[in-house]
């Protein structure tokens, strides 16, 4: 029989791990957090196996007649939210160093899971900032700055919309980059802007798989080959989707009779 205390510890540790994994933390950080929380609740035998799509957790009290308890948590969908990672990091440090009760730990985790990302308008502005300043970095003029600002905002809005429709990551990258390229080509044909490549580069910068790439390396480094490989594949798929989106859009534009450079 599983006792009440153990069950609560399990729920607490799994919730913390799930939240971290969904926010884009590295595998070793998730496993470390779960192990620490369980050890802080005086459970001697803890074994965690975490992958980007699921967490396996086994607990044993260590006495002769106790049973081994194993829980599996499937993780679906993920988005990057560094604030959540930071908060859970602080929480696990607090939980292990002070004698916080398990119930209050659960309420804190609930608060953390309810954290919303920055408001949509601000995020659109952020995407516009990224693309516009990248257009400037790649030798764009002030005209290109405004073009990229507009295109970045539009393509980010499209990506939010596609996220709501729960499309997969290939379709999302493909559609957003194709739309951004089409917009850029359209704006240029009307004579706005002077450096086409700077605008397109700026607007695809938002969708680049930088996070998947860095996390893949950090996971592989920490010895989590499975997760490292799967994140690496994710990065490759996103990169291919972006490149093909841009390519298809330019090809279509020339087929439809538009001028290209």
């Amino acid at each position: 029989m599983i006792n009440q205390m153990q069950k609560k510890v399990l729920i607490l540790a799994l919730r913390a791990g799930e939240l971290m994994m969904k926010s884009g933390a590295e595998i070793y950080r998730v496993e470390d957090t779960i192990t620490r929380i369980c050890k802080a609740c005086r459970i001697p035998f803890v074994e965690v196996f975490a992958t980007p799509t699921g967490i396996f957790l086994s607990l044993d009290e260590g006495s002769e007649d106790s049973d081994m308890h194993t829980f599996i948590k499937r993780i679906k969908g993920s988005s990057i939210d560094l604030e959540k990672i930071s908060r859970i990091n602080h929480f696990s440090r607090e939980f292990t160093s002070t004698d916080l009760s398990i119930d209050s730990g659960l309420t804190i985790l609930k608060d953390i899971s309810n954290i919303k990302p920055y408001p949509l308008l601000l995020r659109i502005f952020g995407a516009a900032l990224v693309s516009s300043f990248f257009a400037l970095i790649f030798q764009g003029s002030y005209k290109d700055f405004f073009c990229a600002f507009f295109i970045g905002a539009c393509s980010y809005m499209l990506s939010v919309l596609l996220d709501k429709l729960e499309t997969n990551l290939f379709i999302r990258g493909f559609c957003c980059c194709a739309a951004a390229t089409f917009l850029a080509l359209g704006l240029f044909s009307t004579g706005l802007g002077s450096n086409l490549s700077s605008v397109i580069i700026g607007s695809i910068m938002i969708f680049l798989p930088g996070v998947a790439l860095t996390n893949a390396v950090r996971d592989t480094l920490a010895g989590d080959m499975l997760s490292g490989a799967s994140k690496g594949i994710e990065a490759v798929i996103i990169a291919v989707s972006i490149a093909s989106g841009v390519g298809v859009a330019i090809k279509f534009w020339t087929i439809l009779g538009g001028a290209f450079q």
Partner: protein, 152 residues
């Protein structure tokens, strides 16, 4: 140079907003990104290849991120993820695609290889820096503990 720093800073602020970096760390995370980009452009203008420049930029990002993560007692990821993004070879990806569309196989191969190598160099730089830091921390602890033993 000041302009390059400013542009990179502003675009990293954008990434910070997209990835929900905690408000009080947005400025420092953007500083990390701008420093990485500045190192990259510095290497490019001094005539070294883009792969080496990417490697150096990522090393700087990883080092400063580690420094900040220690001073602010935060996870290093919060600084590394926004900081590394300006260095991800988006421009080269676009040029590769252009070469494919032109049907220029040689250019596709050369630019494509460079893109892959740049992405790889970011990865390797992060790997090297974090391994060295871990090793140094381990050595420090060992030396300190043997030091304490000798005292007592």
């Amino acid at each position: 140079m000041i302009w390059a720093f400013l542009f990179a800073f502003c675009s990293t602020v954008g990434f910070c907003i997209l990835f929900h970096v905690p408000k009080k760390h947005i400025a420092s995370a953007s500083f990390v990104g701008a420093c990485g980009w500045l190192t990259y452009t510095d290497f490019i203008t001094s005539g070294s290849g883009s792969v080496l420049a990417c490697f150096a930029g990522s090393c700087v990002v990883a080092l400063i991120s580690d420094l900040f993560s220690r001073t602010f007692k935060e996870a290093a990821t919060i600084f590394i993820i926004p900081g590394i993004l300006p260095l991800v070879p988006g421009a080269n990806m676009y040029y590769t695609m252009l070469a494919i569309l032109e049907g220029n196989v040689e250019r596709t191969a050369s630019v494509g290889t460079e893109t892959i190598l740049m992405a790889g160099s970011i990865a390797v730089a992060l790997l090297v820096v974090s391994s060295v830091i871990k090793l140094m921390a381990l050595l420090e602890r060992k030396i300190m503990s043997s030091f304490r033993k000798e005292i007592s």
